[in-house]
Amino acid sequence: MSTTVDTAAGAAEAMVLNMGPQHPSTHGVLRVALEMDGETLISAKPDIGYLHTGIEKSCEAKTYSQAITLTDRMDYLSPLSNNLCYCLAVEKLLGLEVPKRAQYVRVLLTELTRIASHLVWLGTHAIDLGAMSVFLYCFREREEILKIFEMVAGQRMMTSYFRIGGLSLEPPAGWLDRVENFVEAFPGHLAEYEDLLTENRIWRIRTVGVGVISPEDAIAWGVSGPVLRAAGVPFDVRKYFPYSSYEEFQFEVPTRKESDCFARYLVRLEEMRQSLSIVKQAMAKVPAEGPIRTDAPGIVPPPREKMKTEMEALIYHFKIFTEGFSPAPGHVYQRIESPRGELSCYLASDGSPKPFRVKFRAPSFVNLQALPLLCTGRLMADAVACIGTLDIVLGEIDR
C-alpha cells in the first residue's frame, strides 16, 4: 500500500502516521495509515494481512472433519461460534439432522461464547480508553466461562467441541451446576461494569458522538452485528434465518439509534443480558440424557461400545478416520450470528472426501472496511475508540 500523500497545491502538508502493526489498541497485527492535518484525521486506511495463515487453503487439504480444528483459530475469542458455523455448513451439505439435545447444548455454549467474547471486548476497549480496572473484572468472569469450556471440551480456548452431526463428547456430570453458578453471579457483575463506566465522565467524553455511521452506509458497506444494531437496524441472523433451534428461544435484539461508540457499548451490554437469558432457557431445555450425535453411519463416528461389539461399526470408524466421507457435489452457504456479526461459511464439494472450497465470511473483515467512515474528520485519539468498538479479531480478518 502506498504511503505517499498527494496534497493540493498551496495546502499545508499532511502527515502520515502508521498506527501499528505493533500498536496495543489495534487488537492484533493491524496497520492503519493515518493521514493527519495536525490532530485531525484526513483519512484512515487499514492495511491487513499480517496474520494471513492460509486457513482456507489448508482446509482444502484436510478431510471435512479435520478442518474443524482450523476454524477455532480464526476468531480465537469465539472458537465455538466458528465450530458451529462450519459444522452447520457441512451438515447442510450432507442433509444431516442433529439431535435436539446436541442443538440445545450448542446454543448454550455459543451464547456463553458470546458473553466471553463481549467481556474481552469490554475489558480491552476500556483499557484503550484508559480504564484499567474494568479489564481485570472482565477477565475474572471470562475465566469462569473458559473453565466451563475446559470442563466440557477439555480445552479452554481451542475447543473443537462441535463435530459434524453433534458434539465430540458427552458433557460431564455436574456441568450444568457450574453454568448455574455463573448465571447466578453474572448479573451482579454486569451491574459492576455499568457502575464503573456508563455514567463515567471520561468514558462518555471518549465515546458519545464518536464514530457515527448512518444505517444506510452501514448496510451498503456490509457492516453487521452490534455495530449495525447500534445504528438502528435490527438485523440478527438468529432471528432472520434461525439455525440450531434458535426459533424456540425467547430473546430481544437490542438496538440503538445513536450509532456512536457509546451506543455500541450499550448494545453489547444488553446482548450479554439477552445471552444470559438464552443460556437459562437452554439449561431448562437440555435433556439430561439422549443422543449427542446423529445416527449417520459412515459420517458420524459410532459410539465406543458399538465398535467393540459390532463389526460394521468398527469398519465405519476406520473409514471415517482414514479416508473421510464424500458428500455429493454441491454448494451451500451457512450464516450464523457470531459475537462480531454475521459469520458465514461457503462450502463447495466436488464429491471427494476433502472440501473443494471453504470460504469464511469474517464479520471483522467486513466491519473493518468501514473504519474510514467512522473516524475521518475526527481526532486521532477517536480512531482508537472506533477501532475498539468495531471489535475486530485479526485472526479472523486475515485467516
Partner: protein
C-alpha cells in the same frame, strides 16, 4: 450440481426471469438455496436490478468469492451471496470466467462493501475486477508471486 425443480419456481428466480430471461443462463436449487448463474458481462446489470428492484431489494452483500475448477474451462466461478434486510430472503449469484486472463466486471458501484472482497479474490485467485478503484493485493505482500487459492498452487507453497 442439483436438478432444476420443475414444479416449484423460486420467487426470486421467477422475478428475475420476468425481468429479463436473456440475462439469466441458469437457475437451480440445492438444499433450499437458489443459485442464479449469469453471463459475465451481465453481472453489473443483474446486480443493479437485484439491489434496486423493490420486490427483491438485495441491499446486503454478504460476501463475494471464487472457486477454481482447474483444469476444466471456463476455469473460475465467481460467487456472490446477498440478502435483503427488508424481505428476509437470500440468493446466490454465480458467473464464470476463463482461465486465461480471468476478469469479471466489478460491482463496487452497486455494493461498496464489494471493494475488499474483490481485492481478496484478486489476491488469492488472480481474477481481475474491471472498474474496481484499487485492484491491488490485500492480504499478501505486494511483491508476492502467484495466487495461493488456485488449485495448481501447492498447499505447502513453492519452495
Amino acid at each position: 450440481m442439483a436438478e432444476t425443480v420443475e414444479t416449484h419456481v423460486h420467487p426470486v428466480a421467477a422475478r428475475l426471469k420476468a425481468w429479463d430471461a436473456g440475462a439469466v443462463s441458469n437457475t437451480e436449487e440445492f438444499r433450499g438455496e437458489l443459485t442464479v448463474t449469469v453471463p459475465r458481462e451481465q453481472v453489473p446489470r443483474v446486480a443493479a436490478f437485484l439491489r434496486h428492484d423493490p420486490e427483491l431489494e438485495f441491499d446486503f452483500l454478504d460476501d463475494l468469492t471464487a472457486t477454481d475448477h482447474f483444469p476444466s474451462e471456463p476455469r473460475f466461478a465467481v460467487v456472490y451471496h446477498m440478502l435483503s434486510i427488508r424481505h428476509r430472503h437470500t440468493v446466490r449469484l454465480q458467473t464464470w470466467t476463463s482461465g486465461t486472463n480471468p476478469s469479471v466486471p466489478s460491482v463496487v458501484t452497486v455494493w461498496p462493501t464489494a471493494n475488499w472482497h474483490e481485492r481478496e479474490v484478486f489476491d488469492l485467485f488472480g481474477i481481475r475486477f474491471d472498474g474496481h478503484p484499487e485492484m491491488t493485493r490485500i492480504l499478501l505482500p505486494l511483491d508476492w508471486e502467484g495466487h495461493p487459492l488456485r488449485k495448481d498452487y501447492p498447499t505447502e507453497g513453492h519452495r
